[in-house]
């Protein structure tokens, strides 16, 4: 991975807020669809199915915690 693409805390906070408001903007009916679209766009930028797979594994952890 390119070390210059590190997400620092202010960047993470920006993503946190924007994702939260976008989910609200999409509404309860469409937020899932919105998140899948977002995931596909991110996958395109990542360009590596194996890395995407690792993200899926990480995100599937502790869902009921």
């Amino acid at each position: 991975m390119n070390p210059t693409l590190h997400l620092d805390i202010s960047g993470l906070e920006q993503v946190y807020d924007r994702l939260a408001t976008a989910i609200d903007q999409a509404g309860p009916e469409k937020s899932e669809l919105f998140l899948v679209k977002l995931a596909l766009l991110n996958a395109k930028e990542i360009g590596r199915p194996d890395l995407f797979e690792a993200h899926i594994e990480a995100a599937l952890k502790d869902l009921s915690a």
Binding site: L33, V36, K37, A39, L40, K44
Partner: protein, 563 residues
């Protein structure tokens, strides 16, 4: 007593002929047959015609007295046309069918994907041609009826098949009662609901999808060219997919998915059909355009195959052997390949050229093809008819993204039926130069057609046995090759020597000289003078040499017939 209907089936474009039943009392004692084919659909009739091409007589049992109801299979691929050319009916489909090569996917009124398959000047046939199955059956039947080796029996229903060593007894019912027919081999081409398969308790492997689809044929005047139209998630049928295809005689096929929970009976009520077809017409801007219903039916998407097609002396072929999803036109188009393969394999065993284990090769090759098709078809099916919430979400996300994002649009590609490559066939040569070739069809691949002269194509000249296509040097063929081929022919192996020549002079010793002034064959097959391709009787490549010699030719031919 089997009493098939004498009433012509209803149709607004096809005049059904009711054939005279074949009756046992009007025919003498039945001696043992070499092959009895149960089922007179595309798979059964192509099998009979291919067998006849290799000199094998067969009986075809048709339960009904007329061709099948409704348009059923309507889209035929280029490879299907090449196979139909081999059995002599492609020209009739060309005369009457609607050729096409483009498809459109439409979402929210926007064309989000369009695919145009280029026309290759080396191909005789279009990528696709549309014609109703009744016509296809009529043309195949005309060819069967004209063939003295095919004994076509209308109104003969197989009730039971019993196997003993080297023999199958077919118990056949007719309108004047039953009779028995002994045969060396029985071909079960009795369709997706094969009673022979059920009676033998054979299980299909694979998946069934829950979604149910309606197909309706309507006569309507719509100003569209012959192309595939796929509408995703329209307002009138949210979440589902609608397909439209043009057929001859002003008929359009409308194909739509039903909402979950709706039964086929509900969906086929006239009011229900009318409401949905009107909604579809409204969506495409033709509300109120008059139309008339011809035929409707339902189907579900299944990806199932028998793990073996050959069970002692009973062989399953076409839909009786596998059930494939309609997306990608895989039903009849796969059946032609099955039947063509079965025809030559069985004929070579019956003619004593090959041992019975050649039939195992047929089964392995065609089961392999079915499995590959199932993998491919599964992908289209998961997009067209998502089987779970997750798949539906992803599909919907792709639809939504496709309006603005180019990168997801190729997911609309419907992966049309294409012929299987027998890459791992036991018949493929181990004494050739396959690995050294820089192009051209590889071992096991289907043939690439070549236009050698105007309206004169390579595949016009192949078939009926093995074909050795040799690129001649200075209009001659080495004597050792000619001697070797002579010996093989004298030994009963049907092989034809076709010499490619760039001068218009008959090459001495060749069974046929193909005058190829532009050297198109050399170009498409990546081969030079002295090189050659060996085609099986189904025109798949089983050996190819950059420089052919008699020893390697003989060993490859022997391997290809398992001698």
């Amino acid at each position: 007593m089997h009493k098939p209907s004498h009433l012509p089936r209803p149709s607004i474009y096809y005049n059904y002929q009711v054939f005279k039943p074949w009756l046992p009392t009007e025919n003498g004692t039945q001696e043992k047959k070499q092959a009895v084919i149960v089922g007179a659909g595309p798979a059964g009739m192509v099998t009979a015609l291919e067998l006849a091409r290799h000199g094998v007589a067969s009986v075809v049992l048709a339960s009904e007295l007329q061709f099948s109801q409704g348009s059923r299979a309507i889209v035929f691929t280029r490879r299907s046309m090449e196979i139909l050319q081999q059995v002599g009916v492609a020209h009739r489909i060309t005369e009457n069918g609607l050729p096409w090569r483009s498809g459109n996917s439409i979402y929210r009124g926007q064309q989000v994907f369009r695919m145009e398959t280029p026309l290759d000047p080396d191909d005789r046939f279009f990528p696709m041609i549309n014609i109703q199955q009744q016509y296809l059956e009529e043309y195949l039947h005309d060819a069967c009826a004209a063939n003295p080796l095919i004994d076509f029996r209308w109104g003969n229903k197989l009730v039971h098949a019993e196997q003993s060593s080297g023999n199958v007894t077919a118990h056949v019912d007719t309108s004047e009662g039953p009779y028995e027919l002994d045969t060396e081999w029985l071909v079960a081409a009795d369709g997706g609901r094969s009673e022979i398969r059920s009676a033998m308790n054979l299980k299909l492997e694979g998946a069934s999808f829950e979604s149910i689809f309606v197909i309706a044929d309507i006569r309507i005047d719509l100003p569209y060219p012959t192309e595939r139209l796929a509408f995703f998630d329209p307002d009138w049928n949210r979440g589902n997919t609608i397909l439209m295809h043009k057929e001859p005689h002003g008929i359009w096929r409308v194909d739509y998915q039903l909402p979950p929970g709706e039964t086929p009976e509900e969906a086929l009520r006239p009011e229900s059909l009318q409401e949905r077809i009107n909604a579809q017409l409204k969506m495409i801007g033709f509300e109120g355009t008059p139309w008339k219903m011809d035929w409707s039916s339902v189907y579900s998407a299944r990806t199932l195959t028998l793990p073996q097609f050959v069970h002692d002396r009973i062989v399953f072929t076409g839909d009786a052997a596998h059930l494939l999803p309609i997306f990608g036109v895989r039903g009849a188009n796969t059946a032609f390949q099955d039947a063509q393969s079965l025809g030559w394999h069985l004929a070579y065993v019956l003619n004593g050229i090959s041992p019975e284990k050649l039939m195992t090769n047929h089964s392995e090759e065609r089961v392999g093809a079915a499995r590959e098709i199932i993998t491919e078809a599964g992908k289209s099916t998961r997009f067209m008819a998502p089987p779970s919430r997750g798949f539906r979400l992803l599909r919907d996300a792709v639809l939504s993204l496709s309006l603005t994002e180019e990168f997801v649009r190729p997911l609309y590609h419907w992966r049309t039926s294409r012929p299987h490559e027998y890459k791992h066939s036991d018949l493929n040569s181990t004494a050739d130069d396959n690995a050294q070739f820089k192009g051209g069809p590889a071992l096991g691949a289907p043939p690439q057609n070549v236009q050698i002269q105007s309206n004169d194509y390579l595949l016009d000249h192949l078939g009926g046995g093995f074909d050795l296509v040799y690129v001649s040097l200075d209009q001659s063929i080495p004597h050792e090759l000619l001697h070797a081929l002579e010996a093989v022919k004298n030994n009963g192996l049907p092989v034809k020597l076709l010499a490619i020549s760039d001068t218009d002079v008959k090459v001495p010793g060749a069974d046929k000289t193909l005058f190829d002034p532009q050297q198109r064959f050399q170009l498409r097959y990546a081969v030079s003078p002295g090189g050659a391709y060996l085609f099986r009787p189904d025109q798949h490549v089983c050996a190819r040499w950059l420089q052919l010699d008699a020893t390697r030719l003989l060993s490859s031919l022997q391997l290809a017939v398992m001698r």
